[in-house]
Subunit: 283 residues, 2 copies
């Protein structure tokens, strides 16, 4: 695949990593960053993540062949629709948001003719923020979910898949609700639990935390603004995942109250097996 | 400090790391390993974790100046008392168990005269098992908790503190119950949550897990036999920590159900601040 002008809206860790990878792999003739602070754009240029940048959203997309939105999900629908109104015919719009049903649904309902939007969600990231943590290899070997609905253009879907594959990802096509239910379990519930656990740590026990507590709560260091938007948009699926978790937690609590060591051991063995199946067990 | 013969009961990741560090730092004249499989002892010798080994517990401790128990907590009291009955006068016994009230309480009640026991718990470890993962630097810069009760000998307490300090740890003295309540929150509750979360992952979502799920559940890969013993011995404090967690979880669920984005964001900000205060936020 080859893109003429690729505009990246939001040049932070994810947007910057896309820019770095696209430029290193020469997937576009020009990579333009759109940001809210000139300093961040200058940093992105000096790190090689973008060729040039602008603070003006419309100006940054008017001649773009593809635009990728790497901003917090809460404001993304309005940004996509603003860009759609300014973009030239045939421009491909996609995003990297962690929720898909609200974004894809609202955008599809209001998208002008001649512009295509396809939802994306690369399963790669970090609790870190900012283009200085951008990494050209961030998407290599990772899964990128691309959404398909009855309104999705077949051509736009293929172009979106090709973009992620060109960045080194494996692509999986899902419908937006299926995506949201899945990541509620694999990503949003873990964040909720990590933040809840971090939140109850009494200050006097800080020095008694070791790698177990630190790993279990690592993602709680993520951006609260970003994550409150994710929880807001995926409320229903997160509540369902939480209910499933609490039901299991209750059974474990019951076993502990009964001092049922055999059941506790069986539960731990089952969890160990599942966790070992995920690989990457490093400290 | 200088020990004549140091016997390590259980030469796995922790016992092996102690052996490696003691030998590299020349803190003992001889390091002897006591194990249950000759193959594991041979491996420990070839890795430099022990000078020699034996499968016979009594034989391994009869001339030891210090004995450190690095076995799962569930069987530790009996092992300590068996060794205490065979050890020479003045031998220091200590352990590395993750629970302290049951071990220290039961041992102190039944310890013969002339042998000292002091409970220890180095806050270092891994979900990995086996001497091949032993690391001489495992305790450097970490906290080691050493317990003190009205029955603890002042001399033995100082010898135990000196051992951990010689391994590079900072020592904190606590009473056993205080220790158990603290680690119920900082270690045992995180393990319980990680294992519960790992346990509810539907198999078809395995490939949708990314670093967030993997980090949050990493410790669920720990040894089920070891951990069921820990939960059994620290049941009361773990249930209290779980109650505190569930109370907070309910408040977050309520906020989600009300779609109270402001409260959710405030909660996430507070959790982020606490987590960032712990440091080590690396992916």
């Amino acid at each position: 695949m080859k893109i003429g002008i690729l505009s990246i809206v939001g040049v932070g860790l994810i947007g910057g990593s896309i820019g770095l990878a696209v430029r290193q792999r020469k997937l576009a003739e020009r990579v333009r960053g759109i940001g809210w602070r000139q300093q961040a754009l200058d940093e992105a240029i000096s790190l090689g993540a973008i060729d040039n940048g602008t603070l003006n959203l419309r100006e940054g997309v008017v001649d773009a062949d593809a635009v990728i939105f790497c901003t917090p999900v809460a404001g993304m629908v309005e940004q996509i629709l603003t860009v759609a109104a300014s973009a030239k015919r045939g421009t491909l719009l996609t995003d990297v948001g962690s929720t898909k049903a609200v974004i894809v649904g609202e955008v599809e309902n209001r998208l002008p003719a001649g512009v295509d939007f396809v939802g994306s969600h690369p399963l790669a990231g970090s609790e870190k923020r900012g283009v200085r943590f951008a990494d050209a290899t961030l998407f290599e070997g990772r899964l990128a979910i691309v959404t398909k609905t009855p309104k999705t253009s077949a051509v736009a879907l293929e172009r979106t898949k090709a973009l992620w594959e060109a960045l080194g990802s494996q692509v999986r096509v899902m419908n937006p609700s299926e995506h949201d239910r899945a990541v509620a379990i694999t990503s949003h519930l873990p964040h909720l639990l990590a933040a809840t656990l971090a939140g109850i740590l009494p200050p006097e026990l800080t020095e008694l935390t070791a790698s177990g507590f630190r790993d279990t709560t690592r993602i709680a260091a993520g951006d609260p603004g970003l994550w409150s938007g994710i929880f807001g948009q995926n409320r229903t699926a997160v509540l369902a995942a939480l209910a499933m978790f609490r039901e299991r937690l209750q059974r474990i609590q019951d076993a502990l109250e009964r001092d049922d060591v055999a059941e506790i051991k069986q539960w731990l063995e089952s969890a160990q097996k599942i966790r070992e199946g995920l690989g990457d067990v490093t400290s």
